[in-house]
């Protein structure tokens, strides 16, 4: 039977070829579009899995993506959560963007400052500014994200390979509610920082919340900034490849930014068993006026944000598929109409109505199966291409974690698209074949 359907398609090569091309395009488009949503969700899920943080605690009435200005007493709350029987780690985190310099920039900028001090001619000054432009740009272009943490409360945050570690696991500068203990000057930096500022273990960096005012202010800026010594270089798989981040002791950062009310922005909670995340979340919410987000909550938030795009995507896929269905159904209907006599002859030879109906449905299914196979290949290639473009674009501004993909082809997606293709093929075949049931053999043959 299938050979009959194949033969009849083969007999009308050009129309079959064009119809299949239309279906291939529609299926490829559907595969690429579906792969976007799945890619973002899968990447987010695997990122959370890799990080190993099960609950993110933030100030009341914040969403995960707008964490607000933080909450006070963060250290005590972290310790309290840390002592919960189901928790392995409760890391308080204070986040601040800061201006950074290394020794090389310092040396050059001090030279620049000294030279500029003696120049009054604007053209000369422009020349000097250009000469030291690389170092000026390195300092003013991007701030570094500084995280204040307490290393011993970290638990098992995953995806981090470290060279070196914090010698002080506690936060010695915070002394009985005061900021007057031992200032360790320890900093762990990520790979991007190490690369951009040419830093290795033992290197010194300078951090300050503000930029120098002018060339004359450079020596003063270095005197007022705080120096840190690199004690660890971190390779963090879930961080954006060119995002500059460094980690210092919590109280030392709070002290530098003059926020001495033990404020934190987030507490990262690592539970012993991720299945207990909701239990611990409830315990936190019952005890404190804070927000707590499990990975499920965050994925829901991502979904909510992407709803507007998903709606557009679904509408575009739907309309494109509608055109493809119109295309195939019309061609099939014309094709059946053209072969009325052929079908009447087949009936006269003893083929049942059901068999002829099956021939036509099969033809439509063959078109969609071929369309699905080629569409899947082309759509997958399209998804990879699109992913490369989007990753390149997002990586440019450093906002994308390495290993993040916007598109993903999963077995579920393939099954979903295959089911849609078969269903549509079946529907087109059924609509087109319906005419043959009502065929009057004698009249049709007589007319011919």
């Amino acid at each position: 039977m299938t050979s009959y359907s194949l033969n009849s398609l083969r007999r009308r090569k050009s129309r079959t070829g064009l119809t299949i091309t239309g279906v291939v395009l529609a299926i490829a488009f559907m595969v690429t579009m579906f792969s976007i949503g799945i890619g973002v969700t899968n990447s987010a899920e695997s990122l959370f899995e890799e990080v190993g943080v099960d609950i993110f605690v933030q100030a009341e009435n914040t969403t995960f993506f707008s964490m607000g200005g933080g909450f006070e007493g963060g250290r005590n709350i972290s310790k309290d959560i840390f002592e919960h029987g189901l928790v392995r780690g409760a890391l308080p985190r204070y986040v601040k963007g800061m201006v950074v310099s290394n020794e090389e920039i310092k040396e050059n900028l001090l030279q620049f400052s000294a030279k500029a001090a003696n120049i009054t001619d604007p053209e000369e000054l422009e020349k000097i500014t250009k000469e030291f432009g690389k170092h000026l740009k390195a300092m003013r272009e991007k701030s570094t994200r500084v995280d204040g943490i307490v290393p011993k409360l970290m638990g098992e945050i995953g995806g981090i390979k470290n060279e070196g570690d914090f010698p002080h696991r506690d936060d010695p500068f915070y002394n009985d509610g005061g900021y007057d203990g031992e200032f360790t000057h320890e900093v762990a930096i990520n790979k991007a920082m190490s690369k951009k500022f040419n830093l290795e273990l033992g290197s010194r960096i300078y951090l300050s919340p503000s930029l120098p005012k002018s060339s004359a202010d450079i020596p003063g800026w270095y005197n007022n900034s705080t120096h840190f010594e690199v004690i660890s270089i971190l390779d963090i798989s879930w961080e954006a490849a060119n995002l500059l981040t460094c980690y210092v002791h919590l109280s030392e950062l709070q002290f530098i930014v003059e926020d001495k009310r033990d404020t934190v922005h987030q507490i990262l909670v690592d539970t012993l068993n991720p299945n207990d995340a909701n239990k611990v979340k409830k315990w936190i919410l019952d005890k404190y006026d804070l927000e707590a987000f499990t990975t499920e909550d965050i994925l829901e938030e991502i979904d909510k944000f992407s709803e507007v795009f998903k709606g557009f995507g679904d509408a575009i896929i739907g309309l494109t598929m509608f055109i493809a269905v119109l295309f195939t159904a019309t061609i099939m209907i014309i094709s059946v109409r053209e072969r009325t006599v052929e079908f009447a002859a087949l009936r006269a030879m003893g083929f049942s109505k059901k068999t002829i109906y099956r021939f036509i449905v099969e033809e439509a299914l063959i078109i969609y199966v071929i369309g699905f196979i080629f569409g899947l290949i082309i759509g997958s290639a399209g998804a990879v291409y699109l992913d490369n473009i989007l990753v390149d674009m997002a990586s440019e501004d450093g906002s994308l974690p390495s290993g993040f993909h916007f598109t993903s082809i999963t077995p579920l997606l393939i099954i979903e698209v295959a089911s849609i293709a078969v269903l549509i093929g079946l529907a087109c075949g059924l609509v087109a074949g319906y005419r043959t049931i009502k065929l009057n053999i004698a009249n049709t043959l007589k007319q011919e």
Binding site: L25, N61, K96, G97, V99, K142, S214, L326, T330
Partner: protein, 401 residues
């Protein structure tokens, strides 16, 4: 059926274009109308709270205003503040902006001014920044202008108190609402919890504890008319600023346009690809139907050739039929295209919470797209038309028999 396919693909393309081009032309227009010729900012930092890393903000703005090239130099500070309202349990977070009202007013375009209250100076009773006087020992005004959504959500009106703090569970300071401004946010969807409060600059600095160094995020400058009208003069002034302030990032209007253009070209590529697939399928449909029609009419075409009709006439006839489908489909598609763009605007408003006035459906956009579709339609019609003209007369007639 064929016309329906063209109608749907044309409508889809038009709607996608209305959203994408509309959004960019809105931004483009906004920059064009803006009085900000030069934006001065500190370091850029992605995914982190603002650094507020420009020091001596008030002084720097004053010094810039003393430049003969500059008409207005308005300092700006932005951060998040926690706020509470009487009769409502708990606190919420607002996007806080610190400004000097009379200076900022001079920097606003007509459209922007329309968003602010007409009372006082853009809603503030005190036009200057008195708390800054005497190294932040001047009087507090405790004035705040809030956005319509915040007013609606918390039942606030002019004269009502609102309590603000840098941190949740911190010390809250009472402010009084002196004005309510409009925004494009509808208070629905993803921007439902986005609240805006505008304060006097020095008071926000004090709330954030950064008054010691008079730290701000940036300064927006409006240049003298003869300077701003000449791109070369603006560029020259930018160069001068870069030498005078080597630690600041200076961005001109031209730079902003370039950035928009760059992004637009990527977005344009995407939406053409999105709508292009459906159009391609629609046109393939037209081509297939026309080829089938030519095959069906082989004998008829042979006869026409036999009675003296030239190949050119037949080519013209098939091409005309094909183009008729494309043109009528494209024309009819304009109506559902308009409806779809309205649905898209409604969807953005519902889900993103942004009043999508930017969705544009202009005759120019429709015309451009129409011409492109006709050109592509002509291209696909060439194949069936060629097929019809390349037939052998004898064979065609014998097939008819």
């Amino acid at each position: 059926m064929t016309i329906t396919a063209v109608v749907v693909s044309m409508a889809l393309l038009l709607a996608i274009q209305a959203v994408a081009e509309g959004m960019f032309s809105y931004i483009y227009d906004d920059i064009r109308k803006s009085k900000i010729d030069i934006s001065i900012s500190g370091t850029e930092g992605y995914g982190m709270p603002p650094a507020h890393d420009i020091v001596d903000g008030h002084q720097l703005a004053e010094a810039l205003e003393d430049d003969p090239e500059v008409k207005v130099a308005a300092p700006l500070l932005a951060d998040r503040l926690s706020f509470k309202v009487e009769g409502r349990a708990g606190q919420s977070w607002a996007q806080a902006e610190g400004i000097i009202p009379d200076i900022t007013r001079d920097l606003l375009s007509k459209d922007e001014l329309d968003l602010f209250p007409k009372t006082g100076t853009i809603g503030f009773n005190e036009p200057s920044d008195p708390h800054y006087e005497g190294n932040y020992t001047g009087p507090w005004t405790y004035e705040v202008v809030i956005d319509e959504n915040t007013a609606k959500e918390f039942g606030l009106k002019v004269g009502d108190p609102i309590f603000m703090s840098q941190h949740a569970a911190g010390n809250y300071t009472q402010f009084n609402v002196t004005g309510i401004m409009k925004t494009l946010l509808t208070g629905e969807g993803t921007t439902a919890m986005f609240y805006i409060v505008i304060l006097h600059l020095s008071e926000l600095q004090h709330m954030l504890g950064i008054q010691d160094q008079d730290r701000i995020d940036g300064i927006s400058c409006n240049l003298r008319d003869d300077i701003r009208m000449s791109a070369a003069k603006v560029k020259e002034y930018k160069k001068k600023l870069e030498v005078e302030h080597p630690f600041l990032n200076i961005i001109t209007k031209e730079d902003r346009f370039e950035l928009i253009e760059e992004r637009m070209s990527v977005v344009r590529g995407f939406y053409i690809a999105l709508g292009g697939v459906s159009l391609l399928i629609g046109l393939l449909f037209v081509m297939t139907i026309m080829i089938m029609s030519v095959i069906e009419r082989t004998g008829e075409i042979g006869m026409m050739r036999a009675i003296g009709l030239s190949r050119r006439s037949i080519f013209r006839q098939i091409m005309g039929e094909s183009l008729l489908i494309v043109i009528s489909g494209s024309l009819i598609g304009i109506i559902p295209g308009y409806a779809l763009s309205k649905i898209a605007a409604w969807w953005i408003e519902l889900k993103a919470g942004i009043a999508a006035d930017f969705v544009q459906f202009t005759p120019l956009q429709v015309g451009q797209l129409f011409v492109i579709v006709i050109l592509l339609g002509t291209l696909v019609s060439l194949i069936p038309s060629y097929k019809a003209t390349s037939m052998n007369i004898t064979e065609s007639i014998s097939k008819r028999r």
